[in-house]
Symmetry: C2
Amino acid sequence: MRVASRVLVIGGGAAGMSAASAARRTDPSATITVLEHGTFPSYGLCGIPYYLGGVIPRGEDLIAYPAEEFISRRRIDLQLGTAATGVDLSRRTVLTATGATLDFDSLVLAAGAVPIVPPISGVDDPRVVTVRRLEDAIALHSRLGNVRRAVVVGAGYVGLEMAEALCERGIEVTIVDRLPRVLTTVDETVAALAQEEAGRHCSLRLGTGLVGLHPEPEFVRVELEDGEVLADLVVLALGVRPSTSLVPELAALPNGALLVDHQMRTSHEAVWAAGDCVALHHLVLAGPAYVPLGPAANKAGRVAGIEAAGGHASFPGIVGTAVVKVFDLTVAHTGLTLAQAQSAGMAAQATEITAKSRAKYYPGAEPLRVRLVHTPDGLLLGGQLAGKDGAAQRIDVVAAALHARMTIDDLADLDLAYAPPFSPVYDPLTQAAQSAQFARAKQEAR
Amino acid sequence: MRVASRVLVIGGGAAGMSAASAARRTDPSATITVLEHGTFPSYGLCGIPYYLGGVIPRGEDLIAYPAEEFISRRRIDLQLGTAATGVDLSRRTVLTATGATLDFDSLVLAAGAVPIVPPISGVDDPRVVTVRRLEDAIALHSRLGNVRRAVVVGAGYVGLEMAEALCERGIEVTIVDRLPRVLTTVDETVAALAQEEAGRHCSLRLGTGLVGLHPEPEFVRVELEDGEVLADLVVLALGVRPSTSLVPELAALPNGALLVDHQMRTSHEAVWAAGDCVALHHLVLAGPAYVPLGPAANKAGRVAGIEAAGGHASFPGIVGTAVVKVFDLTVAHTGLTLAQAQSAGMAAQATEITAKSRAKYYPGAEPLRVRLVHTPDGLLLGGQLAGKDGAAQRIDVVAAALHARMTIDDLADLDLAYAPPFSPVYDPLTQAAQSAQFARAKQEAR
C-alpha cells in the first residue's frame, strides 16, 4: 500500500467532504486538509429552492454535518473561509488566499462549479442573483418578503425549481429563456408537459434572449430581444461551469470539466478530482460527459478520497439520471434523449406513450408520459417520464436497465410489482416497452 | 407456419383472454373459443378488496373490457357461464357442462386457481366467504352494511387487503393466522412492520389455528386453538391452489401447478398454459415456482396464445416481485427472502437498513425499511421494502437488478435519480447496498 501522508482537498462540498472522510477511513494516520472558501461544509445545494420557497424552514437544515463532525470526529483539518489561489503541480503545493503554502502528496480537486453569468452590464446589481451558495441563499431569503415581481433567466431544472419557490412565496414570476422551450434535458414532447405546468403558474417568455439588465431605483429593467420585463429580483439560472481554472494543465473537456479515469484520477498522477468540476464516464455514451449532480459527486468523491489515501476503489460511471419537481408535475430522465443520441451520431428512435400511473379504477391514477429512446434494433438508450404520480422511482428502473444494457425486449419482460394502488397490471414502463416492440415489428414487416 | 385452426382456451380470466386475443392477432383465420364458467371475462381480481372497501364505487369498474369487445371486435367465441368438465388429450376434445364436445388443435389452459378452503364444518355457511370471483364480491358488497364484526382467516396479502377493506367499511376486524406472524412473502423483520400497522386497525390473533366454524342464528362462532371469536362474516384468505384437476396427466408441481417451458407449453405438445394454474420459471431460483400474480398471467397468457396459434414468443421468467398496501404502509418484495434462499439450499445473508424516503429536511420524508438478500460474495438474491412513502416503484429497481444478475456492488453503483422531494442524495437502495458492502468488507477483514 502506497503511503499518502498528506492528502489535500480543494473544496468542502459534497465531493470534497466525501473524499476527505473516505481518505480518513482509508488511512487513519494521514494528514487530511480541506480548503473551503465558503462558510459551510457539505450542504444540500439541491435543497436551496425549497428553503427559499418556505418548504424547509431554516437554511441550516440543509447542512448534512456540522463542521465539528469533520474536525473533531473525523480529524480533518477543515479550513472554512479559505480559498485556494494557486496550484503548483510540479512542486506539489497549493497556495491559499491567506498566503499559506501547503504541500501535498495527493491532491483532490473538488472545487465544484460556478454559475454562468452572462457578460452583460447590470449583473452585479444586488437584485441580480445566482443560486448556488448557501450563504447567498440565506441572505436572499430575508429579502424575499420585499419582492413582488421576479424574473428567472434560464428554463432548465434550477430555473424551474426557483420559479416554483418564488411562486410559493407569492411572487409574480416570469421565466425567460433564449430557447423556445424549457428543460433541454428531456425531448420536446416531454418538456412540453413541464412547460404547460410552469405556464399555469408563471409568465413564460421563451425564445427570447436576455439583452441587458438595467438597474433603476425601484426595479431592474430586464431587456429582452423582444421587449422588457420589470423585476424586483432577477435570478440567473443559466447553468454552471466547472471551477478548474487553477489547474489549466490538466486534461479537460472544452468547458473545463476535468477528465478522470475510473479511479477518479486526473491526467496528473498525484491529482484526483470529483464533483461538479469533473466529467464522468457516461455508460451509454461510452465516453466522458459533464453531468454535475449530487449522487455522483458523493460517490465519486468517496472513490477519489480512498484512492488519494492509497486505497482502492472505482467509479464505473453514470447514465445521467435526474428528476425534477415542476410545480405539481414530476419530470425524470435517464440516459440519452433522442436529440442527444442523434447528435452523438447514434441511430436512434423514440417511442412515447401515456399510461395511467395506477389501476385505472383506483383513485389517484394520473396520466404518466413515458418516452423510451432506443436503437432501431432495440437497445435501450434512455428514458423520460413526466406525470403527477409515480414518475420519480420509475425512472430508476430504466436507469438500472441502462446499466445492464437491456433491450426493449428485456424491459418488456421485467417482472415489475403490481397492486391497484401503485400501478396498472401492465406497468407504464412495460406498456412503453411493448409499444416500442410493436413499432419495431411493424417496421420489420415493411 | 403451423396451421392451428381451432384454438380452445379454458378460462376467461386475465391469462385466458390475453391468450385468446394474442391468438387472434397471430392467426386472423383461426377459430378461437374461450370457456369461462363465470359471468365476467378478464376482470381486475386484485381490485376486489378496494371495491369491497368502498374505494372503487362499482364492481363493474374492475372489468377491463366488456364481453362484446372480445366477441365482436376480436371475433372470439367467448362462452360465459360455461364450465369445462373434461379434457381428453388423446382425442383432443373438451367436454363442457352443457354437454357439448369441442375439438381443438391447440388447447390453452388458463383455468386459474381456487381459494383454499379448509376441510372443516361450517365453511358452507353463507356468512363464510372467499375472495376470488367478482360475482361473489358483488353479492358480498351488498351485505357488508349489516356486518359489524368480521374474522379474516389468513394473514397473507389478500387477508391484509381484505382486513383493510372491511375496516374502511367501519367493521371490527380480527385477523387470525396459524403462524405467529403476517406476510410470509417477506422476512420476519419486515413483516413485523406490516403486523404493527395492521395491529393499529385490527385485532390480531396470530399463532392460533382455525379449528371450526360454528354457524348460529346471530353469528358464526369461530373456534380457534386458543379461544373463539364471534363474527357476522368470516373471510377465508388461505391462499389458492391451481385449477388443474381436469388434466392430471400433465407434468406439474406437487400443488398441481402445471410445468411449462419458455413458450408456455405444457408436457403435452398441443397444450399450453398460463395464469394462476401454472408454475413459472423463477430466474433467481433457476427453476419453477408457483407465484400466481396478475402481470405474469397477462404476459404469459399472451405468449401461450401466440404459440397456440402457431406464432413464436417466449416468456423468460419471473423474479417474484409484488407489492401490497397494508393500511398506510406499503410492503414490497422481489426475488427470494432469506428464508426462501436458505430453504433452497443457498448460502445467503441479509442486510437491513432504515433510511429516509426523501431528503431528511423535505416534508413527507418517512422511514423506509430496506432489506437485501444476497450471497456471501455479493450476488443479489432479493429485496424487501416497507414504508409509508417511496416503496412501490423502488422494488422494481431491485427486480431489474435481479433480472440482470447484479451484485450488491452493481446496485451500489446504480445512477439513481435524486431531488429532495423524492429521495435522499444516497437513495435508500444505495444506502442498503453500501451497508451490505460494508458488512462484507468487515467479514473479509476477519
